[in-house]
Amino acid sequence: MPVTVEADIANGLPGFTIVGLTDRAIQEARERVKPAIRNAGFKFPPRRVTVNLAPAELPKEGTGFDLAIATAILRAEDPSLRLEGLAFLGELALDASLRPVTGVLPMARCLAAAGIRRLVVPVENASEAALAEGIEVLGAATLRSCVEYLRGEGSLIPGVRDATPAGGGPEPDMAAVRGQGQAKRALEIAAAGGHNVLMTGPPGAGKTMLARTFPSLLPDLASDAALEVAAIYSLRGTLRERPPTTLRPPFRAPHHSISRAGLVGGGTGLAQPGEISLAHQGVLFLDELCEFSRQHLEALRQPLEEHSVTVARARAAVTYPADFILIGASNPCPCGHLGDAQECRCEPRQLSAYNNKISGPIKDRIDLVVSVPRQEYRDIFEGADEEPSAVVRGRVEAARNRRGESAGHGNAGLTGRETLAAARATPPARRLLALSGERLHLSARGFFRVLRVARTIADLAGEDRVGEDALAEALHYRIEMAG
């Protein structure tokens, strides 16, 4: 919501007050604005100055109001400044130069939506702000150049959108991973259908490496999706990590020691987006899934279902988008060696406690489970030539195109009824499904999960109907064990 900054200068003892539910950073603006105005060569009015940030009941924070406050005060003294249809963003330095602030892109988009036509920002923020559609962005280096522009005496540097899509950082290629055919296949299916995956395997088997290659299987983001992602990164002030114009899906891999606020969003004052929002339109990789606390995993449930997260703080509740593919990795058991050449030393009781930890909160949202065995040295050196990511990505894109844009979140987002309609299972596949329900004790949820994955497998194979083979393969990656 745009904030209106008003200034009043009255007779009385010299003083400077800022009101309007401000935070500490805005109160300190008084000590920046006063010298900045002086050092820009203007006079700070030696009277009683009151600045109001409206609407007054809305909490405000950050240093981005400095420029607007200074401009409002100068306008109160000098009616020749023309402010119509203009918005200001930027932090002032004591020498009156402008410093960049975070969150410029989402603010520019919001101002454009509110009908503001022009926006003055620090030059360093100009190209970022220019990514927003429908608003003219002007970059100012100092308070003085900004004021001269407002008097109609000078001009500002127009913000230019950097049109060339930047490539993100280099993405590890899947060809770098030897063997692991099952895991690679599961990741291919996940990329094609947007399914969440759990990889289990002993330590050192290559789960992390596989997960890091996963983004390379995903197609480029559409430009509006990329802008949404850039807006989130802008809020966190981490656009340096990720160029705003890159079309590659983001990849986030928070460590299990992360705080709950760091993971889902939060913090003091207005909630900041967390890792799950930074992974929006991309991949959230949780290594050692079972080491995350139960509360952390519980907190993922809502975002996994609604593709957004609402963080309520004392002052306001904020909703951030959080539509990501979850890749989880975990050891098969506490000692990590279940099913490995080295024997497992866990008690059965420990095993079930360990499995319950994942199964509780987010099992419902994981469509594919695959085990990643430790590679033998022989396999590492003598493996066949591995398929490069680009080839797999080609298949993924073809499969996604088959489904068309109608499937918002890929096959993973289909409801039960949609799944049944989309699957168009052949009669033999239906028989197989009925048999599996009986033999493998599939729950209703498990049934739909298998069918969704089978739909994606059929998409990859270019088939209109889900056949026996696709269904049987999907059953292999199911999360539920018989008995």
Partner: protein, 296 residues
């Protein structure tokens, strides 16, 4: 409600076979509806058994139960529990010989199994009611298992397993002992493999057991005998050639699907769908940890 009964050599229900022991119990407490029958077979093994071992114990027990043979074991975790529940699932009767009081549930996790055993079999112990499961009680109870049974099948045991003590008692009493062979790399089969090396008869299928124990042969009706599988393995003709090809490459030792794919030059997608087909046919089971093992 069933109450525990004290059974001593004067009782008509006293199993005479216990007198084969050099130091037979003075008597024992029994809780359940069906006492120890004759003939019966003990299935024992490691508490920390592998999934394949548990499955084997369960299937031997249900084959015996469906042929009308009672299964004896010690109600411990792992193989013992699988033997009891395998027999009960097949509608048979089973006897659990305990190392604690007849009213004590140990391990506590087996409360449900315990009540099923009381309904369709019985609990037997020479310890007075209320006795906690002292460590030194278990070797004593092993001798009762060995004496009650006409034959002892050891499914999985490490070299230090209590199941080997049961096997030793049984051998001393002249009972037939059979051991399920395992991979030489599997620690859980090291004890059973040692038994085989020392001259114990390997158990390859229920036929081996029946051939070795005349009492069993005469107790099982001819008709039931015909339906029992002669030995494990074989009978793969019912699968299509692509599925047979996979089975042929798998042992009861669990393997990772990727190994199957590499060995046969099949794509991961194909391996996954064929393994599911085999699993639905009951020929393969998938284990926690992502491995698969043959069950036929």
């Amino acid at each position: 409600m069933t109450l525990p009964r004290w059974i001593d050599p004067a009782s008509p229900d006293w199993p005479v076979r216990l007198l084969h022991l050099e130091s037979p119990p003075q008597g024992f407490w029994q809780l359940g509806t069906i006492g120890a029958l004759s003939p019966c077979v003990a299935i024992v093994g490691s508490r920390r058994a592998t999934f394949a071992g548990v499955e084997i114990a369960r299937s031997i027990a249900s084959e015996l139960a469906s042929a009308g043979i009672q299964v004896v074991s010690g109600m411990a975790l792992g193989i013992d529990a699988a033997a009891h529940s395998g027999a009960l699932d097949a509608g048979g009767s089973t006897v659990a010989v305990l190392g604690c009081g007849v009213d004590v549930c140990y391990p506590t996790r087996h409360a449900e199994l315990r009540s099923r055993i009381i309904t369709d079999g019985c609990l037997i112990t020479e310890e007075p009611p209320g006795t906690p499961p002292f460590k030194h009680n278990f070797p004593k109870r092993n001798r009762i298992i060995a004496a009650l049974a006409h034959a002892v099948v050891v499914v999985e045991a490490t070299e230090r397993s209590g199941a080997l003590s049961t096997a030793r008692w049984a051998a001393d009493l002249g009972r037939e002992v059979l051991a399920v062979p395992g991979s030489i790399r599997s620690r859980q089969s090291s004890g059973t493999n040692l038994l085989i090396r020392d001259g114990v008869r390997p158990f390859l299928g229920i036929g081996d057991l029946i051939d070795a124990v005349p009492e069993l042969r005469s107790a099982i009706p001819e008709a039931a005998l015909d339906t029992l599988p002669a030995s494990h393995g074989g009978g793969l003709e019912r699968f299509s050639p692509p599925l047979r090809e996979i089975l042929a490459r798998m042992g009861t030792q669990p393997v990772h699907p990727d190994q199957v794919g590499l060995a046969l030059g099949l794509s991961p997608a194909l391996v996954a769908s064929r393994l599911s087909a085999l699993e639905l046919a009951g020929a393969v089971m998938s284990l926690p940890g992502g491995l698969v093992a043959r069950t036929v």
